[in-house]
């Protein structure tokens, strides 16, 4: 993976690219490896259809009911007690992403029967044609509802909490298969994606929380991009619906106050993020 020259790429507005976060994730994986966490890497390259042929489970819309009963659970990933972090990063510089790479930091599924593992999942995709309009669709795709046989995503906003079924685990379902399935689903549904890699972290709550720090920072950009996409569709909640001149509007003072508050909040948020980052760099 090559280092990005700067945070901003191509014509993305300042602060609206995830390139630095992609590099941060790579650094974190290196650090965790250096700290002795077991790390495994697989490769799932090729067309979506070809990837699916090798998997022990069916993948695609309706491949699963979206439901695994308590008694049929082989392992749980990312419960509130164990910790969880979903993260989706995309870039137009597809060379930043090593295509097909699936990395696992921590124990695998087959050796975790009955366990409730911490779960970090980072999906990174690259494609020159990707744009901010794809942000929401990409984020949503992380939560594959009923597309992977024997794998159920539970409903928990802001976290990725899932169940692996006993039956599919018996057929050899593991993180390599899950990663390959995700790659096939993303590439199959979004042809703009040229390169994609997936990282799973199950090594501990603390490790997942470190991923969470990167996710928190990235979420600011994600939220901004999603807002812009809505604006592009013609829905701007901040737009003024009073169609006359600001100078003669009785609401002008309120509008100005709100803008000022929003600006102050943004500045405070950015300052807090920078401080956090600086602290991490020192530590």
């Amino acid at each position: 993976m090559s280092e990005p020259a700067s945070r901003d790429v191509d014509d993305a507005p300042p602060g609206q690219s995830f390139d630095l976060h992609i590099a941060e994730v790579a650094r974190l994986v290196e650090e965790l490896g250096a700290a002795g966490r077991p790390t495994r890497v697989w490769h799932a390259r090729g067309e979506a259809d070809a990837l699916l042929e090798k998997l022990p489970m069916r993948v695609g819309p309706g491949a699963h009911s979206g439901l695994i009963l308590r008694k049929d659970v082989f392992a749980e990933l990312g419960s509130p007690d164990a910790g969880s972090c979903p993260l989706l990063l995309w870039t137009r510089r597809s060379e930043l992403i090593e295509d097909g790479r699936i990395t696992l930091v921590g124990p695998g599924l087959q050796e975790s029967e009955g366990a409730s593992l911490p779960f970090g999942q980072v999906v990174m995709v690259g494609g020159e044609a990707l744009d901010k309009g794809d942000q929401s669709a990409l984020e949503l795709k992380q939560f594959v509802a009923n597309q992977i046989e024997g794998y159920m995503i539970r409903r928990a906003p802001g976290r990725l909490w899932s169940r692996v079924g006993r039956e599919i685990a018996g057929k050899g379902f593991d993180f390599e298969a899950l990663g390959a399935a995700l790659i096939a689903i993303f590439k199959g549904e979004l042809p703009k994606i040229r390169t994609m890699q997936v990282l799973f972290v199950t090594s501990g709550r603390e490790d997942v929380e470190r991923l969470g720090e990167i996710a928190e920072e990235a979420s600011l950009i994600g939220a901004e991009l999603a807002k812009e996409a809505w604006r592009a569709k013609g829905f701007d909640p901040a737009a003024c619906s009073v169609s006359h001149d600001c100078g003669s509007c009785s609401e002008q003072q309120d509008c100005d106050d709100i803008r000022e508050v929003v600006l102050l909040r943004r500045q405070a948020k950015r300052a807090a993020q920078s401080a956090k980052k600086a602290k991490r760099a020192e530590g």
């Binding site: 009911s65 979206g66 439901l67 009963l69 409903r155 928990a156 906003p157 807002k227 829905f235 909040r265």
Partner: protein, 432 residues
């Protein structure tokens, strides 16, 4: 004690007996689901009894709300009622339309949310016992502060000390900290007005029990993903809300109720039994259920079209458990729950993006065929978010049906008009 106060107490006594009667009747059923549903009536009866006992013994009781940390009043062992529940509970008695008409005679505008108008009516007519202190609920809409202004001008409620936690608009970390601090102030107010003290260990216990309820609720909700859906409008969603946030907050018997519900539902899902014999259409009812005529309308939907309400606003489960290892996290967790997760508040306050995500996840997770946008007349914010939600549904390729109704008042858009709209809509999209 004034005559009006007697009226509120009398009303609660009638409720206590009526709901105890519903419960007794339900337990005679051979259908375990009716027995589970019937236990909710027992919980209501017990809640009424708690207030009546406090009244008889001269102990304080307060008004609190589902979204202003009822876990705290439970942990402080202060009996509490929720004024705002009145219009929802009133649907089980006759004369709802007359009550609504009387709010007009009181001078309240018919464009004001019927739930708020009815709550005002209950205060003015003294149909609710007068509490010793009021925890206000001044969000998510403009109408709620108005209810509290009326309370402050009421002859019988006006003198009651009131504290209204101030809700920040945004849904970020800073807002959670702010509201957590408001809840601390609220606790200090309750301590001053009732003499009760908050023991943090007891609060931790209540929150942990409450978390167990939320986890079971999540388990139950996931069972509703099954095709066919094990339950329709008649069991589940709003009941889960009522047990966990109104009548059995952090109580073991509430947890046991959830456990029974999950056990029964798992059995049904394993056998592939649905709410209706032949499920054809899976609906997401994107608002409060039509309380005013639910028993007239929902069975019709199920019987006529095999259309089942798989998910609704109060049944939606965005809740997360609370980290009880740290005191500050308990406050923050309660703040988050009240401010971002509870129904109506989650949808009506703050930016719309969050709930678009909910909508999209619900449509995918529950394999929804049609999103129904009831557009309750009191939910003015739905006029603002309507276009965004419709657009999201277009992108998902799921039909979006807009009604515009009053969930309490059957005369606003009549059940017949709504039925006609559904029939034409289903025919139009080729499922009717």
């Amino acid at each position: 004690m004034t005559t009006e106060e007697h009226r509120g107490i009398r009303s609660y006594k009638e409720d206590r007996e009526r709901y105890a009667g519903f419960y007794a009747l339900s337990q005679q059923s051979e259908n375990p689901e009716i027995r589970v549903a019937g236990r909710l009536a027992k919980f209501v009866s017990e809640a009424r009894d708690t207030i009546l006992t406090a009244h008889e013994e001269g102990r304080p009781f307060v008004n609190n709300n589902y979204c202003t940390a009822p876990e705290i009043t439970e942990a402080m062992d202060i009996p509490w009622l929720m004024l705002y529940e009145a219009p929802f509970m009133a649907v089980s008695v006759e004369g709802l339309s007359d009550q609504i008409d009387e709010t007009g005679a009181m001078g309240l505008g018919t464009d004001l949310c019927t739930a708020i108008r009815s709550s005002i009516y209950y205060v003015e007519k003294d149909l609710v016992p007068v509490p010793s202190a009021v925890i206000g609920f001044i969000f998510p809409c403009d109408g709620m502060p108005m209810l509290h202004q009326v309370i402050k001008h009421s002859k019988t409620w006006g003198h009651i000390p009131m504290f209204c936690p101030d809700p920040p608009y945004f849904n970020d970390d800073r807002s959670i900290d702010y509201f957590a601090n408001e809840l601390k102030k609220m606790t200090a107010f309750l301590e001053k007005e009732t003499g009760a003290k908050l023991d943090m260990d007891r609060l931790r216990e209540v929150v942990e029990e409450s978390d167990r309820q939320y986890l079971l609720w999540q388990e139950y909700n996931e069972l509703r993903r099954a095709v066919p859906c094990p339950h329709g409008y008649g069991l589940g969603g709003p009941m889960c809300f009522a047990v966990s946030q109104m009548f059995k907050v952090g109580h073991k018997d509430g947890t046991e109720w959830f456990q029974n519900l999950v056990d029964l539902t798992e059995e049904k899902v394993e056998k592939g039994i649905g709410a209706v014999e032949k499920e054809k259409i899976r609906l997401f009812w994107f608002d409060i259920m039509p309380s005013g005529f639910i028993f007239e309308f929902m069975p019709w939907l199920e019987e006529e079209f095999g259309a089942v309400v798989v998910m609704d606003m109060f049944g939606n489960h965005p809740y997360t458990t609370i980290d009880t290892s740290d005191e500050q996290e308990i406050w923050r967790g309660l703040a988050k729950r009240g401010l971002f997760d509870t129904p109506m508040v989650r949808q009506a306050m703050g930016p719309a993006e969050g709930f678009v995500d909910d909508l999209v996840r619900i449509v995918k997770d529950y394999q929804i065929d049609v999103v129904v946008w009831p557009g309750h007349m009191g939910h003015k914010e739905t006029q603002g978010t309507f276009g965004i939600m419709r657009e999201a549904c277009r992108e998902l390729g799921v039909p979006f049906m807009d009604i515009r109704m009053d969930i309490f008042d059957r005369r606003y858009t009549t059940p017949d008009q709504i039925k006609d709209k559904f029939a034409r809509f289903f025919a139009g999209i080729g499922v009717g």
